[in-house]
Amino acid sequence: MDKRILAVLGIAALAAVPQFGLGNYHLHLLITVLIWGFVYTSWSVMGRFGMVSLGHGAFLGVGGYVVTMLWNSFGLTPWVGIPIAIVLSMTMALLVGYPCFRFRIVGHYFALVTLALGEVVRLTIVGLRDQTGGSLGMTVEGVPGGTSFLALQFGERATFFYLALIVWAAGLWVWRMVDRSMLRYALEASSEDEDAAASVGVNVTRAKLMITMLSAGMTTIGGALYAQYQMYINPETISGIGISLQIVFAVIAGGLFTQLGPTVGAMFTLLLAETLRVTFGHDIHGLDGTIYGLLLVLFIIYMPKGITGSIAAGLVRRRGAPGAAPAAATH
């Protein structure tokens, strides 16, 4: 079947979900998967090219805090606040990214720089206690009645579900656009061999900056959406190193190189977190982190393509490996 038809059908089926009288809890899980699926997709648009960021919490934090602070302090609608936050995040990505890419800080070193970026943003939020509430977090000021389009607040969970669905689908669309663009060629080439890429005219620095800023901007939207949904943010849950690492874990588990991989990763991590919560409650502090870490190691060793990647590879094998046959060695 045509993939486009399949996509439309899939999204239509999802859109119909709230009509089936789903309880609040299940709707909540779905919204959570959509928001995080979008955030993970945003990370993977650059992560798939070997640009592993351990600091995407920085962009989530900017999204959540800038939008909330503008709303709480000045009553500025998130519809304006979000673009402002996006511009801020992209500027941050540019300032940190440019020297990295210009001077070829790649691989582990790039990951370390981003790790620092995430911490800088978290510590800034904690430090600006009077404005941000510090470690105690910050509550988004609710509108009377609970629903206001201008405030991007919806008392009705189903409404928020549709909003999250649209944003998530847009994220997948962006992923697809990048996948089909010449930018992908430039980035695949750059991630493999910067000298060879430059020798055929690829502007490595520019290509990397473009994708980093795109990813940062998208992640910012995710952060804002999360804040609007939870109505409460906290530097640890939105900007901490834990959340930055969870993004990486989820994408690797779900599949770094497939369109739906990050979303599957969101389902997987949520399922894991909920199971742990229901089974152990909050008795064993740090258990989830330990299990994430352990699973991450196992995934990297045994399933480097993640859940979706492994399923896709399995399907190809069963169909008699059409991808392996073409182009006999050309000597």
């Binding site: 010449m182 060629y185 493999e192 890429a197 020798s199 055929v200 005219g201 182009a327 050309t330 000597h331």
Partner: protein, 249 residues
């Protein structure tokens, strides 16, 4: 079209290339040869933008290009291959060459056009234009061809071919030499061909330059190279070099 004047590269106190001068006519193939450590790769890398010259000038069609970054060199119309093939393995063979065709023109061509240029380049070197064909399916000779196809797809005026014969057997070497000759004729590209073995190369080059210890010790017609006493000495000690069986040092 290319004029190299007193090109010099010093690494600290060591002079890798010492006041080397030569020039190239449109459509010519120049063989740049010399034993290992003779400075030919350093010369190559200075023209390709990988190294900044310590002194001297490199003029392409009357404009100085010495010290420009590799991407600029590409955009000025110089394509290059790598001695050890450096393909983009995440991309298919066709995508490798499309990348070069598109970005080699600064992205100012349509994708369809880039696609056409890529297919043309692949056909020229005899690689499959099948969009599914993977880089992993290529052997040593195939990877060398991919290097050439990628460089040609950028639509260069000047092609720098770095040791295109390394790692090939004799039949493949002859094919590679014929291919460069064919490319020159088809596309009217000027070629500098760097090699440390002489034999096969001498069949197709119009002129040869021999470097030794960073200095130009010979420039002339290929049939004269093998007779030059200085060249014979650096390559074979005192024995006479035979034309067809030119030997690797």
């Amino acid at each position: 079209m290319l004029k190299v004047q007193d090109l010099t590269k010093r690494f600290g106190g060591f002079v890798a290339v010492d006041r080397v001068s030569f020039s190239l006519e449109q459509g010519e193939i120049l063989g740049l040869i010399g034993p290992n450590g003779s400075g030919k790769s350093t010369t190559f890398n200075m023209i390709a933008g990988m190294l900044k010259p310590s002194a001297g000038t490199i003029m392409l069609e009357g404009r100085e290009i010495g010290g420009l970054a590799p991407i600029e060199i590409c955009h000025r119309g110089i394509g290059r291959t790598f001695q050890i093939p450096r393909p983009f393995r995440q991309l298919t063979i066709l995508e490798n060459v499309v990348t070069a065709a598109f970005f080699g023109q600064r992205g100012h061509v349509s994708r369809t056009k880039a696609h056409d240029h890529a297919e043309e380049a692949l056909a020229l070197v005899g690689l499959p234009t099948d969009p599914q064909a993977e880089v992993a399916s290529l052997g040593a000779a195939g990877l060398k061809k991919l290097e050439l196809a990628r460089a040609i797809a950028t639509q260069p005026k000047l092609l720098l071919a770095d040791e295109s014969l390394g790692g090939l057997d004799e039949t493949e070497m002859n094919q590679a030499a014929d291919m460069l000759d064919h490319i020159r004729r088809e596309k009217n590209i000027t070629i500098i061909w760097v090699e440390h073995i002489m034999g096969v190369l001498m069949r197709v080059v119009d002129r040869a330059i021999v470097l030794d210890h960073g200095e130009k010790i010979f420039e002339g017609l290929p049939r004269e190279v093998a007779k030059d006493p200085k060249v014979i000495e650096i390559y074979l000690g005192t024995e006479k070099i035979t034309f067809q069986e030119g030997v690797a040092t």
